[in-house]
């Protein structure tokens, strides 16, 4: 199984995400944003956290227009699996691979702490090692994680069971406490919390490891 993690100028969780994939048995490589194609035979693409292009214009807006993101968009359109975390979630929203938008935290502060989440659906290749309603602790670290979507979009997310994770103690003003959402085909996940920062007990908790393990299981079965 091969994973590719995209590196933008300003990414800072790229190597952590690669480690997360490797822990679950993936052969993970890093791909520079100026590349126009993904490595041959990639099964999953990671879009990592950080501050791509200094968050200029809007978080993720310039990264969304980079050459590699065109390749990632094509990859997803063909049914490829994509995981976007934090800034990666912002990039996936800016490319419109996921609906909605991430705005400045309602409290205006950068929030960095371990956050209690609820697994909202276990029906996805990312979350099927959890059970729906399960509580997990995953670190967050963001200034712009306030997820907003219009009424119509929210209704669609709910009726299609595409909300992956919710916050138990909403830290940023996100609509409907949303912490992560899935694409219509359930193969693209964007989330503000950092599962790659919770893969072994030495990090203070390992609740994120199951996400990478689930993905590995889904791709082996496929």
């Amino acid at each position: 199984m091969k994973a590719a993690v995209v590196q933008f100028p300003g990414s800072n969780c790229d190597r952590d995400m690669a480690v997360g994939f490797r822990h679950a048995g993936f052969d993970a490589s890093l791909v520079w944003h100026k590349e126009t194609a993904l490595p041959e035979g990639v099964d999953v693409v990671g879009v990592p956290g950080g501050f791509s292009y200094g968050d200029y214009l809007r978080c993720g807006a310039i990264a969304a227009q980079s050459p590699i993101m065109r390749a990632v968009k094509d990859f997803a359109a063909k049914g490829g699996h994509v995981l976007g975390v934090c800034n990666g979630f912002q990039v996936l929203c800016e490319t419109q691979m996921l609906p909605g938008v991430l705005m400045r935290n309602a409290g205006l502060k950068f929030v960095c702490r371990s956050e209690p989440l609820e697994v909202a659906t276990a029906d996805s290749p990312f979350t099927n090692d959890y059970s729906a309603g399960q509580g997990i602790d995953v670190p967050i670290a963001h200034h712009d994680g306030n997820y907003q979507i219009d009424d119509e979009g929210l209704t669609a997310l709910r009726s299609e069971d595409r909300i992956a994770f919710t916050y138990r103690d909403n830290p940023n003003g996100s609509r409907a406490d949303i912490a992560g959402v899935l694409s219509a085909n359930r193969r693209v996940l964007g989330m503000m919390p950092h599962p790659e920062r919770a893969i072994e007990d030495a990090q203070g908790g390992a609740d994120g490891a199951s996400l990478f393990a689930a993905l590995a299981g889904a791709l082996v079965a496929a």
């Binding site: 310039i62 227009q65 938008v101 705005m103 935290n105 309602a106 409290g107 205006l108 907003q148 003003g173």
Partner: protein
Amino acid sequence: MKATVTVMLKQGVLDPQGEAVKSALGSMGFEGVGGVRQGKVIELDLADGTSEAQVTEMCEKLLANTVIESYRVEMGA
């Protein structure tokens, strides 16, 4: 030639930064500030002959996120 693009959050979209500025103005003693909305102004230096339609396309594709933002284009001399 120049063009000026003004990007603002759409009406109805909460603007936490504008709210913070409003609150600061109030605490400084400025009375009667009923609301503050914060946006951005982008000045473009363009090749002669660039059309307003091209600038609009720039807005749609990059300069504004039309999910939450509206934009206004002013073509200058």
